[in-house]
Symmetry: C2
Subunit: 232 residues, 2 copies
Amino acid sequence: MPPGPRTRPAKTALSREAVVAAALRVVDEVGYEAASMRRVAAELETGPASLYVYVADRRELMEAVHDLALADVALPTGADGDWRARLELLIDRMVAALAAHADIAMAAIAGVPLGPHSLRVNEEVLRLLRVGGIDDAACAWAADLLGQYVASSALEQAAWRREQREIADPGRATTEAMGAAFAGRIDAVYAALDPAEFPTIVALRPLLTGGGGDARASWKLRVIVDGLLAQG
Amino acid sequence: MPPGPRTRPAKTALSREAVVAAALRVVDEVGYEAASMRRVAAELETGPASLYVYVADRRELMEAVHDLALADVALPTGADGDWRARLELLIDRMVAALAAHADIAMAAIAGVPLGPHSLRVNEEVLRLLRVGGIDDAACAWAADLLGQYVASSALEQAAWRREQREIADPGRATTEAMGAAFAGRIDAVYAALDPAEFPTIVALRPLLTGGGGDARASWKLRVIVDGLLAQG
DNA sequence: GTTCGCGACGAACACTGTTCGTGGACGGAA
DNA sequence: TTCCGTCCACGAACAGTGTTCGTCGCGAAC
């Protein structure tokens, strides 16, 4: 007698791309940290051991997911303006593509991204910087700085977006959810500070947590590029 | 009969500060990720459940450790120059203080730092920016940008430092360790790229992984501050 | 001297990433 | 067609993880 109802009709649909795509779906649903190997395997209706045929470990899987998220980024064309406009557009697209998939940008902080789409996009960043007349050594370090900006901004934007989703969630749209909100919780800490000890924080309090969206991000990007140009 | 050799002579030395200090020691030894509640408890010669009297969860503990690491940062004085020199010195000290304790800066990425020492240091950052004549709204966003720079640079520096320690480790100072090294592994990826597809990366290859130390960090900081001044 | 509360902590729960071994399915060779 | 060999899906297990609960001993208050 067979040990159980072993029905395996079309289970051969496993591949590296299928695993990475499933992992991206799971990250979208439950976030970066909660996207465990077991949950990804469950998404594929298999066991966790099956994933290790196509992926060395969780880190490599998440790097692949991060790279897949960057596949949506289209390189700006000549119609998008001069090198600076194109660079800022490209960076904005990178941040948007990453922030669209929860906090997958964490993978870029845990390890340097070296996937094919990361390389494709970074090649274009470096090329645009050179077109802009930036010194070669400055190009290399600028790409590093811009990479840090992309990861940080994508994480910030993802956190801000998740907060809005939690507030909009009718299941817990109570005072508790409002109190646990992202900017709200931070602002509450600032509001409770002693103005004699932290005069500047208290004075700037409305500005510190305001404008968590695109204005903040594009301002930061402008600062960095202006700073680059100042290195002449 | 007592249920076992329950010898408890001087076990009453537990407190929140003792827990956080022990956690900092563990982070120094094994790193941020491997610093588990069980290891911290073992450092205090107790069980993991004992920690939860003084700390809500691992996240809060790591935020407290991050804040403790910033306690070493001394605020620059008038003898250190004008506002810009003081600001850059302060930021450098923050990066150095965090990078001295492995990758504890990860705690600043997982959540916005709001501990007492973070507040103390951020108050001074905001104050110096205002002294420099930066617009109030720009001050708020600049502090955010500088915070991202501090966390990213501390992580980068910690990774670079760990790599050097692993190479210097006589136990595995073989070709394997050299091949698995940080900058070396990245450079190897770049070296294997097709020059027709990634011409800029290949052309700038020696510059991309070079200068991983202080020069890179201070250059980035100069870019940011120059960019701030360009906002008028 | 007795009671009472605080807190240290053993045990357990529900997970996690990863490895091993089995065994079935499929390709090509005889 | 039969056989063999390779591949790989997957059950089971290992060694951990964060966190919670209940107990129980100790110090202090009454």
